[in-house]
Symmetry: C2
Subunit: 444 residues, 2 copies
C-alpha cells in the first residue's frame, strides 16, 4: 500500500512492480488525495512563465498509465486519515463518495511529500496568497498572470522564490521579492548570494532583504517596512514535510518533523517504508540528518524503497545537497556545505572564490562566472562549492559534487583532466582554477 501519488510514492511502487512483475505475486494499491499522479512539481514555475504549453506535459505518468503499465490500483481523491500499525490498516476517506474505508496492508510505503510553509499571519488565507505545490496551483497562478494582474509579491528569495520571480517577469508582471534574511538564497554563502541579488535587480526584480512579512490584506502585503501593494502573493519560504500522519501512528520523526528512515528507507515501524519529501536524509559531508525536499532525492529514495519492498537489496547513500537553478540568464549551482554550513558542522573551512569566463574569452557569448570552493583546512578535502554566472555556469557544479562524493581533495580536483574547447571553457576550466586556490587556502 502506497500513500501519496507523486515521486516518493509512485516511483517506489513502479520500481517494486519491476522487481515482481506478476500482479498476483504483489498487489499494489496507491491512495492519492488529488486527481493526478507522478507530476513534475519542479515544472510549475515554467508553466506559470509560459514555457510549458500544456499542463499535462508536466505529468510523467497518469493514474491510467500506472494501472496499465505497472498494475497499480491507483485511487485518486482518496485521503488517508490514519494508520493503525497494530491492525495493519489505514483509514481512508473517499472524497468523491464521501465515505470512510478501512483498508489492510502488508507493507506500507509513505510518500506524503511536503507542503509549502504557510506562516500563521493575519490574512494568510486570503485568495491572493498562493503556495506552489501542485498543478492546480500552477493553473491558478498562470490564470492570474494572464488576467491583468500587474504586481506580484514573492515572499522568500530561495529556489521557489527565484523561479517564480522569473516566471512572473516573463509574463511581464512587476515582481517584488521580500526576504526576511539579510541576503537572498540562504543555501549559498552571503558573498555568493549577493551576486544573485545583483542579478535579480539587473533582471528587473525589486528585492527587499531584511524585511519581515507581517500579514496580508486583499490588495497588499504588510511588512516590517510598511505595506507593499500586491495583486497576487506567492509563498516561497520553504516546505514542511508531511510527517504528521506517520507521527500520529507512532512512527519516529526527526528533523523538522520529517519521517526518520534507515539506509533502506525503512521507518521505525516494521514493514513501513518512507521516501521523498516527507522523510529525512543523511548529509554525506556533515554526517547530519537533514530534510532535503528535491525531486532527485525523492526519486532516488523511492527507487531504493521500491527495490527493497520488491524483495531486492538497495540502500540510499545520502545526499550532498546539490542543486541548480536559474534566473533569466543567470545560473546558480551549489553542492556540499557552504562555508557557513561547514563551520556549523564543526569543520574548519578554507574557501577560495575566483572569477573566470564560461568560454574562451574570444568566443562569442563568453560570460563571467564566479566559483567558490570550500575545503577543509589542513587536509584540503573538498566540502562544498557554489557557482553563479552566465550560460553554461551552473551544471559545472556536478564536477564538484562528484569530487566531494569521491572524497577528493581540492588539489586532486585541480589536477583533473577536464575537457576544453573554446565554445565550452577557457583552457583552464574555472572549477580547476578555484580548486587550486582552495587547495592553497587549505594549506595556508
Amino acid at each position: 500500500m502506497v500513500i501519496g501519488g507523486d515521486a516518493g510514492g509512485m516511483a517506489a511502487a513502479a520500481q517494486a512492480r519491476r522487481m515482481r512483475p506478476d500482479a498476483t505475486d504483489l498487489e499494489i494499491v496507491a491512495f492519492e488525495r488529488g486527481t493526478r499522479t507522478s507530476f513534475a512539481a519542479c515544472g510549475i514555475p515554467f508553466r506559470v512563465g509560459g514555457l510549458v504549453p500544456e499542463l499535462d506535459d508536466l505529468v510523467a505518468r497518469s493514474p491510467e498509465e500506472h494501472r496499465a503499465r505497472s498494475q497499480i490500483d491507483v485511487r485518486t481523491r482518496h485521503d488517508v486519515l490514519g494508520i493503525d500499525l497494530d491492525a495493519r490498516t489505514v483509514e481512508v476517506r473517499d472524497l468523491e463518495r464521501d465515505e470512510t474505508l478501512v483498508e489492510p496492508f502488508d507493507q506500507l510505503l509513505i510518500g506524503t511529500g511536503a507542503r509549502p510553509i504557510r506562516p500563521p499571519l493575519p490574512g494568510i488565507d486570503l485568495d491572493l496568497v498562493h503556495g506552489v505545490q501542485n498543478l492546480d496551483d500552477a493553473e491558478h497562478l498562470l490564470g492570474h498572470a494572464s488576467s491583468g494582474c500587474r504586481r506580484v509579491v514573492v515572499v522568500g528569495g530561495g529556489y521557489i522564490g527565484l523561479e517564480m520571480a522569473e516566471a512572473f517577469c516573463m509574463q511581464g508582471m512587476e515582481v517584488i521579492v521580500v526576504e526576511a534574511a539579510p541576503q537572498v538564497m540562504r543555501t549559498l554563502d552571503d558573498d555568493m548570494g549577493a551576486l544573485v541579488h545583483d542579478a535579480m535587480v539587473r533582471h528587473g526584480i525589486e528585492v527587499r532583504t531584511g524585511v519581515a512579512v507581517e500579514g496580508f490584506e486583499p490588495d497588499r502585503v504588510l511588512t516590517s517596512e510598511g505595506p507593499v501593494p500586491a495583486d497576487v502573493v506567492v509563498l516561497g519560504i520553504g516546505v514542511q514535510p508531511n510527517g504528521e500522519l506517520a507521527a500520529a501512528a507512532g512512527i519516529e520523526t526527526g528533523v523538522r518533523g520529517a519521517i526518520r528512515v534507515d539506509r533502506r528507507q525503512r521507518t521505525t515501524a516494521e514493514g513501513v517504508w518512507a521516501a521523498g519529501d516527507c522523510c529525512e536524509s543523511v548529509h554525506l559531508v556533515s554526517q547530519q540528518r537533514v530534510h532535503v525536499a528535491l525531486g532527485t532525492v525523492a526519486n532516488r529514495q523511492a527507487r531504493v524503497a521500491g527495490i527493497n519492498i520488491g524483495g531486492g537489496y538497495a540502500s540510499f547513500p545520502g545526499v550532498i545537497g546539490s542543486a541548480v537553478t536559474k534566473l533569466c540568464s543567470t545560473e546558480i549551482g551549489r553542492t556540499g556545505l557552504t562555508e557557513a554550513e561547514a563551520r556549523a558542522a564543526s569543520f574548519e573551512p578554507a574557501a577560495a572564490t575566483i572569477t573566470a569566463k564560461t568560454r574562451a574569452h574570444y568566443y562569442p557569448g563568453a560570460e563571467d562566472l564566479r566559483v567558490k570552493l570550500v575545503a577543509e583546512r589542513g587536509t584540503g578535502r573538498l566540502l562544498g562549492g557554489q557557482i553563479v554566472g552566465g550560460e553554461g555556469a551552473a551544471k559545472r557544479i556536478d564536477v564538484v559534487a562528484t569530487a566531494i562524493t569521491a572524497g577528493m581533495t581540492a588539489a586532486q580536483l585541480a589536477e583533473t583532466d577536464l575537457s576544453y574547447a573554446p565554445p565550452f571553457s577557457p583552457v583552464w576550466d574555472p572549477v580547476l582554477i578555484a580548486a587550486r586556490k582552495a587547495a592553497e587556502a587549505a594549506d595556508a
Copy 2:
C-alpha cells in the same frame, strides 16, 4: 632558455618567473621561430568561421607583454637549429638578420609543439593545401573563405576536421570531409562516431568515409574513389610532435617521436625540460605513454615544468584524454578509454549506452543526447565515457572525467547526488542513468 613561444614554452617561462620574480636571480630568454607568442591555436577554426573579430583576440600574451610582465627576453623570428648538450649551448638562426648565433643555457625548456601531418602525396605542396597550425594559417583560410572560394575538402574527420568543416559551413561554403577510416571521430567508438557522422550530414556536410586521399591537383583532390573538385583543402589528419631537435641532441623520444619526460617534465638530459605538444604524457587509465596534443595538457605540463625550473616542486599526474568539441548544434565529449581502447589496453570492458534528454522533456530546447560509459567487467571501475548530443550535452563528460580520476566505479557514480532543475537536466541526469546501466553491464 626556452625554445618555442606558445603554451608549452611561454606558460612554463611565465610560471618560472612567478617562482623567482627577480630577473637577476633568473634570466629567461625565449626563442620563437614565428612572430607571435602565446596564441590560441584552438581558436583558429572560430576565426575562420567568422566568430572572432580580430586575429589579435587569439593572442593571450604578446612578446611585449612577456617582456614587460615577466621580464622574459623573447626573441621572435629566431629558429633554433641544434642543441649541444655538452657545450650547454643552442645554435639559433636569426631569421631577420639572417645570421646564426650560439647561445649558452643553464636550464633548457623545449616547447617546440607539434605540426600538422602532411603525408608525402603528389601535390601536397600545392597552394590549395593548408595545415591548421598558427595564426597565419587562420588568416590564409579566412581569406579563402571570404574571397569567392566555394568548395573546400577537409581531409580527416577528427577534431580539427570537424571544427574546420563547421567554420567553412558558417562561411557558406560547400564542405566535403574525406576520411580514410570507416568512421569519423576515431577518438570515439564507431557507434558513437556514427552519431557524429549523422550530425555532419544533417548540418549539410558531405562525408566520405573509407576513402583514401591519393594526391592533389590545383583544383581537385585525387582519392581512391575518384577526383573531388576543391578550391581549398584543409589537412586535419592529426599532428606530429616536433621532437626532432631533441632527438638530434641525443634526448630520448618515444611515442610517435614525442620527447620522453618524467613526472616533473624532465627529459633524459640533465637540466633539459620539455612541455606541451612536443612531449609524451602518461595515460592514467591505460598506464601507457601517449601523445596528446591538447591545450589543456600543454598548459598543465608547462606549469609543472615552470614550477620545477623555478626551484619548486610539482609533478604532472598524467592525462585521461578528456576532450570536447562541437559541430554546429551537435556537441561531442569524450574521456578515458573507448571500448576499443580499453580492449587494446588489456581490459575486459563492459559498456552501456543510453539516450536521454539534455533538459526536462517539457522544458523548451530539450534535446536528445547519447551517453556511452565503459567500465571494467567485474570491478565496475569506470574506464571511459563518450557523449554526443544537443546543447548542454558535451561538458557533462567532466563528471565522468572526475569520477575516473577518483577511481570510482560505475555504481558509485550512479549514486552521486548530481544537480537537477528542469532547464538543465531530467530528474535522473543522463550520466547517472548511463552509470547505472554500465554498472549492471559490468556485473553481468
